[in-house]
Amino acid sequence: MSAAQWRKAMNFSAGSRDWSGGRATAPVALRPRAGTAATEIRETPLISLLWRRLSLAHIVVLLALLLYPWVATPFFTFQIGAQSLVLGLIALSLTFLAGYGGMLSLAQMTVAGIAGYAIAIFATSGTAEISLGWPWWLAVLVALVIATACSTFIGWLSVRTEGIYTIMITLAIGVAFFYLAQQNYAVFNGFQGFQKVVPPELFGLYWRDPMPFYYLSLFWALAGYLFVSYLICAPFGIALQGVRDNARRMSALGFNPVAHRIAAYAVAGFLAAIGGVLMVWYNGLITPGSVGTSWLINILIIAVLGGMRHPVGPFLGAIVFVLLQNFAVDLVDRERFNLLIGVVFLAIVLFSPDGLLGWWSHLRRRMGPTTGQARLGASATPKSGS
């Protein structure tokens, strides 16, 4: 059965997935599918109006993102903007895995951390005894390959069991890596980790300056976003969602659920690895603390906060998270940030399982007339929320 037939069988009108404010190209990629929605559009002209407004919104968002560093202070460009984009990219890998693959992995930060450590070990860092000092492009390449391979291995381990076990196994792997990095001095330089891991100077620009780094992260975040948006409508993505919803049925149809899941881990690992390289450049250092339990869980918080129904969710979640992290001091004591984020997370889990995107669609449903989106939203809802 081809992907298109499968989509039809599952009553999937992928075009309407894009209800929650994605960016410009998602509808373009989906346009061929818009045919199925065409009848609905003719019935209710308001939807077509909505569509046009959405596309405009995409352009506005893109322009805003591009112009942002020209109006914002360096602090807002670097600490808020770039950090949100980097964390969002790592969380995007979790959204892809959990939202579209149904596998809630807590080891995404570990994969990012492996890439970060690989950069520190293969390129240059403050610890010259360990760092090999390879050229940056080779180190980045090797880091991406190693992290993706590790992610595939983690996937191979965790897809052997199903459902709730995934979260346990990946958490165990993540925490085990944290302890390894902390205890081992020969390779990971123990508790201190690696300092002075900086991006190269290229084209006369120092890439850790706020503006170049912001555009670097924006580029990769956008690339990741578009890649995931494309992938979830491609045959592989559709099959993956089929595996999420009913693995047995998919294997009866001739798909190999295990292979799809492991491939999803590989893809997510690659995204997380890019995020990890950017993260280590952003921080300028990597320590065991960057892959500690709190960061493993922070990535989950970011993904859940934003909502896992759409690839834009993790970026929204990251913005909220970073804002909270930086301005919690005004709300509560600086020391109590974890308490605040814990309460916010618990509130989201208890009252709005779909995160901010869930609120958004809820608002839309209440404001606008009832459309087919409620139905589609229900059929396309990832299992992770419930």
């Binding site: 809630l104 381990l157 052997r160 069991t161 459902g163 709730i164 076990y165 979260i167 346990m168 196994i169 958490l171 165990a172 792997i173 925490v175 085990a176 302890y179 390894l180 205890q183 081992n184 001095y185 020969a186 123990g190 339990t293 709190s294 869980i297 989950l300 859940v304 020391e335 109590r336 974890n338 308490l339 984020i341 814990g342 309460v343 997370f345 618990l346 889990v349 208890l350 399982p353 299992k383 992770s384 929320g385 419930s386």
Partner: protein
């Protein structure tokens, strides 16, 4: 897998192990035996923590990622009570009771409303563990606390070959075996235990037979949480209590339960034994790679028996 391959892999694993044991005994029997004893004590502690975790999962299908926080909570409250009353036994009792009470509140107040939503429950426990960790850090600060156990258990006992070994660790080992037997007796010989076992097999049937499932759930959660609190005081006496210990014991229970098989208390004993020994031997013979051994054990079990040593499929 054919019989040949089973034998092949079994030998492939057992031979290097046997070679290592012979070498270690030849090299230094004292180090080897001390490490074994240390491994057994650590296994005892891991069993105490993980048995509650696996009990709760088996019946409620709730992966309680706040289990480590319950461990730490029991330890802190036990310490406060012990400090106030100067009685270590009272500290142990209060550690168990406070964690059990807290677990009861959690089950009745939060998780009861999310029955059957595994993932949501798990995420709620993650949120709770963050909040608990921060509140405990707030109240008790970052310093390390140490219990003041009675004199008769802090000395050391002279054993053959090993020499002097802390008495307390032997007591820990013994008490863990006693707790294990009590758990076994409770689950296999009492009425409530029977209900719990029935619930592990089929919750809906248990409810249909006229048992108030919510009460059984609450009792199970309280016992599981209480065991974590108990382990908190007992383990805190052997080592110490400090922020971060919650993660350590959460990892221990996760790995023990993954290795031993989810939901099986006897499996938890097996898993604890494997992991405790692997960790101590790793520490003694390859100091900075200790955690790798734990990980290798977990990987091997997952590769060849994904459901755990004593776990059941489904």
């Amino acid at each position: 897998m054919s019989r040949f391959w089973k034998w092949f892999w079994g030998l492939a694993a057992a031979l290097p192990l046997a070679v290592f044991v012979v070498w270690a005994l030849y090299d230094s029997p004292r180090l080897f035996l001390t490490t074994t004893l240390n491994g057994l004590t650590l296994a005892a502690l891991y069993f105490l923590v993980a048995s509650g975790f696996t009990l709760v999962f088996g019946l409620l299908r709730n992966v309680n990622l706040a289990h480590g926080s319950l461990y730490l909570l029991g330890a802190y409250i036990g310490w406060v009570i012990g400090d106030w009353s100067d009685s270590w036994l009272l500290a142990v009792a209060s550690g168990f009771l406070s964690a059990a009470l807290f677990g009861l509140v959690l089950q009745v107040g939060v998780f009861r409303f999310m029955q059957g939503q595994d993932l949501r429950q798990t995420m709620a426990t993650i949120g709770l563990s963050i909040i608990l960790a921060d509140v405990m850090l707030w109240i008790w600060g970052g310093q390390i606390y140490q219990f003041d156990p009675p004199r008769w258990i802090i000395g050391s006992t002279t054993l053959p070959i090993v020499g002097r070994f802390p008495t307390y660790r032997l007591i820990l080992l013994g008490s863990s075996i006693v707790i294990g037997f009590m758990l076994w007796w409770f689950l296999n010989r009492t009425r409530v235990g029977m209900m719990i076992r029935a619930g592990v097999d089929d919750r809906a049937m248990l409810a249909a037979s006229g048992v108030n499932v919510q009460v059984v759930f609450a009792v199970t959660f309280a016992i599981g949480a209480g065991l974590a609190g108990f382990a908190g005081v007992v383990g805190g006496t052997a080592l110490s209590i400090a922020p971060g210990e919650d993660t350590r014991y959460l990892l221990a229970s996760l790995v023990v339960v993954i290795v031993g098989g989810m939901g099986s208390v006897i499996g938890a004993a097996h898993g604890a034994l494997l992991i405790g020994l692997a960790e101590q031997f790793g520490l003694a013979y390859a100091p900075t790679y200790g955690i790798v051994f734990t990980f290798v054990v977990m990987t091997l079990v997952l590769a060849f028996r994904p459901q755990g040593i004593l776990g059941r499929r489904g």
